[in-house]
């Protein structure tokens, strides 16, 4: 205990009663929590409460937000009759339906591949994960040229195998798939490293035992790998659902929701409502609807993948 020699005196009575009969430890505990709790309250809890209030009001004066008008559930009613909202919902669901399964399955396949007996695991991991550290703005700039119809990389090479390759960002049918594909490239590394860690923590003896029973390949995957990795699969699916449901920057930067509103999304519409059209109550209501949808998805997720292998 060399350190003790450098400390002179000091108090050992952390449980001494002091201020107003409170234990010293209680006072200290609260004091140590206050910095985070202050930031948390002002910038996370308070907005959530204020958002509910805003969603029940309109703001007739765009420049004076103290002027409010109570509309009850008016914003919500209006929202559920708004065709732009349904279109944005459709776009978001399409994006989620393409990107989430691809992100999860590809991440898993990559992890199981790298987990095998390969040389250069570190290099592979470094490359697979690397796009994750790019900002979405860079991803959009680069892929804007990969997808470009006039000088794009993709269509130049596709031109060898097909005639008139499509405009990836200009075709209403393809634009969401293109944005989703790019997003998979950008984010799959996140899932990959989580799956890799989960796979590496499965004890090898489970596979040896299974081998003795003649269970290899697909059966070992189904009976050992998947159940053992269940927690990380649930985690990744949840995170990706929540994240991809809030897709915003890709359409904002690359397509502005076009062509003909085919790549509009919920958060993009929320952004436009609140910050271009200054409909703050409407935007806040949309935020709350978004949360309700995400909670619903979370419940369904837990019911479907959380229980099936339990």
């Amino acid at each position: 205990m060399g350190i003790s020699e450098r400390i002179s005196g000091g108090d050992t009575g952390t449980n001494r009663k002091t201020f107003m009969g409170l234990r010293k430890e209680t006072i200290e505990g609260v004091l140590w929590s206050i910095p985070y709790l202050a930031v948390f309250t002002v910038f996370l809890v308070w907005p959530a409460v204020k958002g509910l209030y805003m969603s029940l009001h309109t703001y007739p004066n765009k420049f004076d937000l103290t002027e409010t008008e109570w509309v009850g559930l008016g914003n919500y009613v209006e929202l559920f009759q708004d065709p732009v909202f349904y279109n944005a919902m459709e776009g978001t669901l399409l994006f989620v339906a393409i990107s989430v399964p691809a992100l999860v399955v590809l991440g898993l396949v990559m992890a199981l591949g790298v987990n095998r007996d390969v040389t250069g695991k570190r290099t592979l991991r470094a490359i697979y994960f690397s796009p994750y550290v790019l900002t979405v703005a860079v991803v959009a700039l680069v892929w804007g040229q990969v997808y470009s119809q006039s000088y794009g990389l993709l269509n130049y090479y596709l031109g060898f195998v097909m005639e008139n390759p499509p405009g990836w960002l200009t075709s209403p049918d393809l634009v969401m798939a293109s944005l989703a594909f790019m997003t998979v490239w950008w984010l799959v590394g996140f899932n990959f490293v989580i799956f890799l860690a989960a796979r590496q923590s499965i004890p090898e003896r489970l596979y040896e035992a299974a081998r003795l029973d003649g269970a290899t390949g697909w059966r070992a995957f189904k009976d050992i790998t998947l159940p053992q990795m269940r927690n990380s699969v649930v985690f990744v699916v949840m995170v990706q659902f929540i994240l991809q449901f809030q897709v915003f920057a890709q359409p904002y930067i690359m397509t502005q929701g076009g062509p003909s509103d085919s790549s509009d999304t919920l958060v993009y519409y929320l952004y436009r409502s609140a910050f271009s059209q200054q409909q703050f109550g409407y935007g806040a209501a949309m935020g709350y609807v978004l949360v309700a949808i995400l909670i619903l998805i979370a419940i369904v997720n837990f019911k479907v993948i959380g229980d099936s292998n339990a």
Partner: protein, 291 residues
Amino acid sequence: MPESTQSRSLGAYLTEDAVRSALLHVALYGFAFLMAVPYLYTISRSFQPNRLLRDPRPYWIPPLVGEPITFEHYRYLLDNTLVVQWTINTFIIAGGATILIVAIDSMIAFSLTRLDWPGQGVVMGIILASFMVPYYMNIVPLYQIVSDLGLINSYWGVIMPAAASPLGVFLLYQFFRDIPVEYEEAARLDGFSTFQVYTRIILPLAKPILSALALFMFVYNWNAFLWPLLVLSNETAYTLPIGLVNLYQGNIDTPGLHMAVAILGSLPLFVIYLIFQGQIVRAVQMQGATG
């Protein structure tokens, strides 16, 4: 089993394994190459004149006629845009948020796990529940609050909401909780104050997780997009991601410029990634392990 049969089957296994292994390597490295193609494309195009870039045919190796390689895009960016200022802004915001997050998150995690006080369970419960609040749901009211506080166009307007994230509290909580209480008891007997226990026992033990958290938060806040876009409307206050997009939308037909700014915009973080790859990956894996 006769020996000949065994050696033959062993030989068959060996070659089959070798073929499998070769195929696996080809698949994994081929995939890595495909993932890296956008990088090579971006780097090579950032040095080519727009004349070549508008050609539908990509030039991986520039043709040796005319002026195949140019630094004009980089020169233009450095001379005519605020890209250096944006880089500095991004450093200040991401760095400031990271320092603040590590400080206040480790303090509350310490308080919730190593000190005993009534109500701490409820506090942790509320913080955990806030995970369910998606970030974007809050942007409209949050914008009003930040605006009322006079933080629009200020670094703090971006840093403070970032510091409210519960992720760090959650990760550190799990780690601090598992530190054996004996260390602390011994220190207390030696007369350590609470502050000394925190700085001399807990923080040194938590160094790996703290550095992983710090690097992850730095990367995350460096790349943040929507919130800085809302708060920073003044060009001199932009972070790199916002500046990049503004530059792109203002010069839609200059492919070389887009590629050069993509390189300049990601270079600082890529260098950090190459150096601290292990910690950044560990921070992601910790999230998965605790989820």
